[in-house]
Amino acid sequence: MDKTRYELNKELAQMLKGGVIMDVTNAEQAKIAEAAGACAVMALERIPADIRKVGGVSRMSDPRLIKEIQAAVTIPVMAKVRIGHFVEAEILEALEIDYIDESEVLSPADDIYHIDKANFKVPFVCGAKNLGEALRRIAEGASMIRTKGEPGTGDIIQAVRHMRLIQSEIRRVSSMREDELYEAAKQFQVPLDLLKQVHELGKLPVVNFAAGGVATPADAALMMKLGAEGVFVGSGIFKSGDPAKRAAAIVQAVTNFNDSALLAKISENLGEAMVGINEEEINLLMAQRGE
C-alpha cells in the first residue's frame, strides 16, 4: 500500500472520532443506527451476544447482507473478517467496504499470523489489549485500533482494563529517555520507529476507539473519559429494550461525556439494557484470540 493510501485510511478514522459505530445485522437495523446518529455501522450476521449463545465457527458475513446494508445507509459500512483470513479480506475489498475489522469476535483462521494489511487498499481496524498488540497491528498495516474488551457480554470491565493498560503504557513510553526506547521496543515486541512515534506524540499514531461490553450511555462516557476517541457498540443496542432510544442516548453521551447532568437526563427511562454476562461466567474469552 502506498503512503498516501495509508494516510487517507488513517484520515477516514479521524472523521469517525467522537462518534459511535454500531453493530447491525440487517438493512433495517442499519437505518435505525444511522437515524440515531451512528458515525458508521458494522455489518454482521450475528451480533457477538448471539455468536456466544449459538457457538460454532463464526465467519465473515454473507456478501449479500453487506451489500444490502451498504445500499441502505450513507455512513461508512464496516465488516469483520476472521483473524488471519486474508481471502475474506480480499472479498470485502472487492465489495468496496469502507473499513475491515480483523476481529477476535469471529473464529480465528490463523493462530500465528495476522493479515498483512499493508497489502490492501481498504483500511483495517484491529483490537488490542495492550500497547504491544496495538503497535504490532499498526506495523501490519492497521489504520485504526480499538480495545478488545469482551464482546457480547455487556460487561465493561475488560474494555476498561485494556484502555487503562494502553494509556498507562503510552504514558510510560512518553516519559522515557530516548536511549531507553531501544530496550522498550524489545520488551513490547514492536518496531522501534512506531515506539518512537508514541514517545513523541504521547498517543497512538492512529485513532483509538473503545469496544467490547459497552451497554449504557454511562459505559460509553466512561470509555471516553479513559481516553477513547470514540466507541463501538455491538450487542448493547439491538439486544436492549428500545434500540433507537438507547442508540441516540449513547451518541449524545460520547459527545457530552464530561457533562454529568446531561448524562443523568439521557440515561433516564431507556428501557431494559441487555442482560449481560459477568466476566467469571464466560466460557469463551474472545479477547485472548490473536496477540
Binding site: 494516510e7 484520515e11 479521524q14 472523521m15 469517525l16 446518529g37 458515525c39 468496496e96 457530552n256
Partner: protein, 188 residues
C-alpha cells in the same frame, strides 16, 4: 478574535490545531450553553453529517446556529460541514441548515477506496487537497463564488458569510484556506 468549533462529532481537533498554529482563540460547541460565549466565526468540521445533524437537533443547537448564520456570522464548513450548509442535496432527502445556495452530491466520488489526495488551486494558490468519501458541489446560485474546481466539479465556494470546501485543509500543513476564512471575519 474567537472561533466557535462545532465539536459534536468528527475531526474538530484538527481544526483546533490549525487555529493554535495561527494564534487564534477558539472554543468547542458541544451543547446549548456553549452558545452563550461570544464568537466571531464558526467552523463546521468534517465527520458524518447525519450524526452531526441528529446531535444538532437533539441538543437544541440547530435553530440558534441557523439563526446566527442567517444573521451573517462567518462560517467555514469542510466536507460534512459543507453538506450541513447546502440548500439542496442531489442524492439525499436529509437536509440541514440550507443557508447556502449550492446543490451538493454526497459521497460523490464513491466509498473509501475512492478517497484521494491532489494538488490544485484554491483561488490562485495551489494547495494540497484531501478528499475523504467527499461530496462535491454540482451547481451554485448566482451569488456564489467558486474558489476551487476541477473536471467541472466545484470543490470550494463562498457565498457572503459562508465558506465551504469539499476537501480537508485541516488535515494538511497548508493554512491558506483557514487564513482566507480569518480574513473574511476581519473584513466583515
Amino acid at each position: 478574535m474567537t472561533i466557535g468549533l462545532l465539536a459534536l462529532q468528527g475531526a474538530f481537533i484538527e481544526h483546533e490545531k490549525v487555529l493554535q498554529s495561527l494564534g487564534v482563540d477558539y472554543f468547542e460547541i458541544r451543547q446549548l450553553s456553549d452558545l452563550s460565549k461570544k464568537m466571531d466565526g464558526l467552523i463546521l468540521p468534517g465527520g458524518e453529517s447525519t450524526a452531526m445533524g441528529k446531535l444538532l437537533k437533539d441538543l437544541e443547537l440547530f435553530s440558534p446556529l441557523r439563526k446566527m448564520i442567517e444573521d451573517g456570522l462567518p462560517v467555514f464548513g469542510t466536507c460534512a460541514g459543507l453538506i450541513l450548509l447546502a440548500k439542496t442535496l442531489e442524492n439525499d432527502s436529509r437536509i440541514f441548515f440550507q443557508t447556502m445556495d449550492i446543490t451538493v452530491k454526497r459521497n460523490a466520488f464513491g466509498r473509501q477506496l475512492a478517497s484521494f489526495m491532489k494538488l490544485d488551486f484554491f483561488g490562485d494558490k495551489e494547495i494540497p487537497m484531501i478528499f475523504i468519501r467527499a461530496p462535491y458541489i454540482h451547481s451554485v446560485g448566482a451569488n456564489v463564488q467558486v474558489l476551487s474546481s476541477f473536471d467541472g466539479l466545484i470543490l470550494a465556494a463562498r457565498e457572503k458569510n459562508m465558506l465551504v470546501t469539499a476537501y480537508h485543509p485541516e488535515l494538511t500543513k497548508d493554512t491558506t484556506v483557514h487564513q482566507y476564512f480569518l480574513e473574511m471575519i476581519k473584513n466583515r
